[in-house]
C-alpha cells in the first residue's frame, strides 16, 4: 500500500473519520460478546442487555444536557435512591397509588434539577460543588424520610415499567417495557437537543455564556432547564431501577459517575459546547457491554475496575488526539 490513495478512498476515509468512535467501540464489544456467548443474538440475550442498559442510557442522555451546557450533575445517583425509597414509602404496596406517585416522582426530579440550576445560576456555586452538595443532601433525605430503611413495598403497577415484558411481538418475540421507555426517552431527548431552539441554546451557553447572554439567550432559564432535564432523567431511571430490582437502600449509588463516563465515551466535551444525545446513548450501551463482556469472561470485579479506568482515559485521550489532528 502506498500513501497516495485514490480520491475515492480518501473521501471514504474522511467519511469514516467522521463516524463517532463510540459506535465502532460498541460494534466491537457486541461482536466480542456474541463470540463469547452466541445466545446473545436471541431476543432474551439482547433484550436483557437493553433492559439492563436502560437506566444508565437514560441518565447519560440527561447528563449530556448538563455537560453540554458547561456543568456536571453529580446528584442523579442520590436522586435515584430518593425516588426508589420515596416511592416505596408513598405507595406502600397500594397499586392505586402508582398513578399519582409516578407523576409526583417525575415532578420531584424536575424540582431537584430546578434547585440545582437555581443554585448554580443565582448563588453562583460551580455545578461540581452544587450538585455534590445536592448528592449528599438527597442521600440524607432518603434516609431521613425512611428512617434508614425503606418502609413499604413497591406495587406491581409501579414495577410495571422496569420489570414487565410485552409478549408476542413479531420479529423479536417480546419487548421489555423499560426498552420502550428507553426508546421514547432517548428519542425525545435527542429531538430536544438537536432539533429545537432549546438544544441550540444549551450548546450556546456551554460554549460562551457571555456571548449567549448578549445575543438575548435566556441563559439562566436554559441552564435551569438543562438541570431539570437531567433531574427528570434521574427520576425516570429511578422508576425503572426500582421496577427492575425492587426496594433497597443503596440503589443508584455510583450511577452519576457512570453517566458522566457514558456521555464522555460518546464524545461529549466536558465544560460545554459540544455533545450528542445519541452518542451518549451509544456510550451507555458500550459501557454496559464492557461490563457484560467482563462478566462473561468471568473476570473478577477488580479487573473490571481497571479496564473501566483504562477505557475512560483512552477514550478521552483519543478524542483529544483527533481534535488536534483535525485542527478544530
Amino acid at each position: 500500500m502506498t500513501d497516495t490513495g485514490s480520491p475515492r478512498s480518501s473521501a471514504l476515509r474522511r467519511r469514516l473519520s467522521q463516524i463517532n468512535p463510540v459506535w465502532v467501540l460498541l460494534v466491537l464489544l457486541i461482536a466480542a460478546i456474541i463470540f463469547m456467548n452466541p445466545r446473545f443474538v436471541e431476543p432474551t440475550g439482547y433484550m436483557n442487555f437493553l433492559k439492563r442498559a436502560a437506566p444508565l442510557a437514560i441518565l447519560a442522555a440527561g447528563q449530556v444536557y448538563v455537560i453540554v451546557s458547561g456543568g456536571f450533575d453529580l446528584s442523579v445517583g442520590s436522586l435515584i435512591t430518593l425516588v426508589v425509597v420515596g416511592s416505596s414509602m408513598l405507595t406502600n404496596n397500594d397499586p392505586a397509588a402508582t398513578y399519582w406517585v409516578i407523576p409526583l416522582m417525575l415532578t420531584m426530579g424536575l424540582g431537584v434539577g430546578a434547585i440545582n440550576g437555581l443554585i448554580v445560576c443565582f448563588l453562583r456555586v460551580p455545578s461540581l460543588i452544587a450538585t455534590l452538595g445536592m448528592m449528599i443532601t438527597l442521600n440524607g433525605l432518603a434516609f431521613l424520610w425512611s428512617g434508614g430503611a425503606p418502609r413499604g413495598y413497591l406495587p406491581d403497577t409501579f414495577r410495571f415499567f422496569g420489570r414487565e415484558l410485552i409478549r408476542d411481538v413479531p420479529l423479536v418475540r417480546f419487548i421489555p417495557v423499560s426498552v420502550l421507555v428507553l426508546i421514547v426517552v432517548v428519542g425525545v431527548f435527542a429531538w430536544a437537543m438537536h432539533r429545537t431552539n432549546l438544544g441550540r441554546h444549551i450548546h450556546a451557553i456551554g460554549d460562551n455564556p457571555v456571548a449567549a447572554r448578549l445575543a438575548g439567550v435566556p441563559v439562566n432559564r436554559v441552564r435551569i432547564t438543562a438541570f431539570m432535564i437531567s433531574g427528570l432523567s434521574g427520576a425516570i431511571a429511578g422508576i425503572l431501577l426500582g421496577g427492575f430490582a425492587g426496594v433497597s437502600t443503596d440503589v443508584g449509588a455510583g450511577y452519576e459517575l457512570q453517566a458522566i463516563t457514558a456521555a464522555v465515551l460518546g464524545g461529549a466535551q466536558l465544560l460545554g459546547g459540544k455533545g450528542s444525545v445519541p452518542a451518549a446513548f451509544g456510550g451507555a450501551l458500550a459501557l454496559t457491554a464492557i461490563f457484560t463482556l467482563l462478566n462473561f469472561l468471568g473476570l473478577p470485579q477488580p479487573v473490571r475496575q481497571v479496564v473501566q479506568g483504562l477505557i475512560l482515559i483512552a477514550a478521552v485521550a483519543l478524542a483529544m488526539h483527533r481534535r488536534k489532528q483535525t485542527g478544530t
Binding site: G45, G148, Y153, L299
Partner: protein
C-alpha cells in the same frame, strides 16, 4: 480477539490474591457447628437474654453507680440491619432506669471517624460505661484499649483484638450462618446439583466465614458449584447476574451469604420463566413473604438483631453491679425454617425489617420499627 482474551486472562491471573487471609479455620468451624446445637442457658423464649456457655464476669468492682451515662460509639446506621438493631437498642434503653443518659455518636462507616468519636467521648462525654460496635476489628482495637483504661467497655457485633472489654456480645457467628444454609441445600437437592453462590463483598470477615463454611459443606456433599459471584448488595446487579447464569444453564439451588438481595434473585427466576429453586435467604420480611406466597423450599439463617438489645442489657448489668456472661456473651443464632415461618411473617412490617429482632413484645412495637 484472541489477543484480548489472552491479555485479559493474564490480567486475571496476575490478580490472584497476595495475602489470602485465614477465613477457613477448621477449629472455629467445629466450635460454631457445636454451638448451633448447644442448649442455651437463660430464660426460654427470650434469646437476647440467653447465652451459650456458662462463664460469667463479675462487675460489682468496676465502680459504676446507678444512675449512669452510657455512651455508644456506633460504626454506622447505614444499612437496614443496623437500622433495626439501633431501634432495638434505643427501645431497650428505655427499659432501664439505671441508664440516666444515653449518648450516641455515629461514625458513618469510617474507621478514622470512629476513632475520633471515641476520643471525643473520652475527652468530654462524661461517660460511665461505653458500648462500641466497631466498624472494623483491627482498626478500632487501639481506641477500645484506651477506652478500657477509662471505663468499662462492652463490644458487640464485630469484636476487637483485645480482651480488655468487660464482655463481647455476639451470636454464634459466620461459620454457623454458612453451615445452616448449606446443610439445608444438601438436604433438599440431589448430589451433583447445580448450586449458585451469591456473595456481597470480598474481605468482610463475617461474610468470608459464611462463605467458607458454606463452600466446605457444599463441596463435601458433592454439589456442582456453577459460580460464586459478588453482587455488591445491589439488587439490579444480582438480578442481572442470575439472569446471565440462567441463560447458560439450570440452577437447582441458590446459596447467599446475606439475604438483602434474595428477592431480586428470586425475581430473576420468575421473570425468565423458571421455577424457583431451593433458596437460602435471610430473615428480612420481603424474603419471608415471598417464601410464603410462592411456597418455596427455603431457609433463612439469621444474624439476629436482638444482640443490640443484649449490649444495652449488659451495660445496665454493669451499672447495677450484676454478673454478665463473659468475656464472650455468645447468643443463640436460630434459623427461620418452614416450620416456624408463619411466626415471623408479618405484613405490617416494612420489607427490609429483620424478623429475628426479638422486639415483638417491646412497648413501641411495631411503630418504632416502621410497621403499622
Amino acid at each position: 480477539m484472541r489477543h484480548i482474551i489472552v491479555a485479559t486472562s493474564a490480567l486475571a491471573i496476575s490478580a490472584l490474591p497476595l495475602h489470602a487471609q485465614n477465613f477457613n479455620d477448621p477449629e472455629e468451624f467445629a466450635k460454631q457447628q457445636e454451638q448451633l446445637q448447644a442448649e442455651p442457658m437463660g430464660p426460654e423464649g427470650q434469646p437476647w437474654l440467653q447465652h451459650i456457655g456458662d462463664s460469667m464476669v463479675e462487675t460489682a468492682d468496676l465502680g459504676v453507680e446507678a444512675p449512669a451515662t452510657v455512651c455508644f460509639s456506633n460504626a454506622g446506621v447505614n444499612n437496614p440491619w443496623r437500622v433495626v438493631g439501633y431501634t432495638n437498642m434505643t427501645e431497650e434503653v428505655a427499659n432501664h432506669e439505671s441508664i440516666e443518659n444515653f449518648i450516641h455518636v455515629d461514625a458513618e462507616g469510617s474507621d478514622d471517624k470512629q476513632i475520633a468519636d471515641i476520643d471525643d467521648l473520652l475527652a468530654g462525654g462524661d461517660c460511665d460505661v461505653m458500648i462500641v460496635s466497631p466498624n472494623t476489628t483491627a482498626a478500632l482495637t487501639p481506641a477500645v484499649e484506651r477506652a478500657c483504661e477509662a471505663m468499662p467497655v462492652i463490644v458487640f457485633d464485630r469484636g476487637v483484638n483485645t480482651d480488655c472489654p468487660v464482655t463481647f456480645v455476639h451470636p454464634v457467628g459466620g461459620y454457623g450462618f454458612g453451615i445452616q444454609g448449606a446443610e439445608f441445600i444438601v438436604d433438599n437437592v440431589e448430589e451433583g446439583s447445580n448450586v449458585l453462590m451469591l456473595r456481597i463483598l470480598p474481605g468482610v470477615d463475617v461474610l468470608e466465614t459464611r462463605y467458607s463454611a458454606g463452600r466446605r459443606i457444599l463441596d463435601e456433599a458433592g454439589m456442582n458449584i456453577v459460580g460464586a459471584e459478588f453482587t455488591d448488595g445491589d439488587n439490579a446487579k444480582t438480578k442481572s447476574i442470575v439472569e446471565d447464569y440462567l441463560q447458560r444453564g439450570e440452577i437447582d439451588a441458590v446459596w447467599m451469604d446475606a439475604g438483602a438481595t434474595a428477592v431480586a434473585a428470586i425475581e430473576a427466576f420468575e421473570d425468565s420463566g423458571y421455577d424457583i429453586p431451593v433458596f437460602v435467604g435471610e430473615d428480612q420480611q420481603d424474603f419471608l413473604r415471598k417464601w410464603q406466597e410462592e411456597d418455596m423450599t427455603a431457609i433463612a439463617p439469621t444474624y439476629p438483631t436482638y444482640q443490640w438489645r443484649t449490649a444495652v442489657i449488659a451495660a445496665a448489668r454493669v451499672i447495677e453491679g450484676e454478673a454478665v456472661p463473659g468475656p464472650e456473651w455468645v447468643l443463640p443464632q436460630p434459623a427461620i425454617t418452614q416450620d416456624n415461618l408463619d411466626e415471623f411473617v408479618n405484613p405490617a412490617m416494612p420489607p427490609l425489617h429483620y424478623a429475628m429482632c426479638g422486639c415483638e413484645e417491646m412497648e413501641n412495637y411495631p411503630e418504632a420499627w416502621g410497621g403499622n
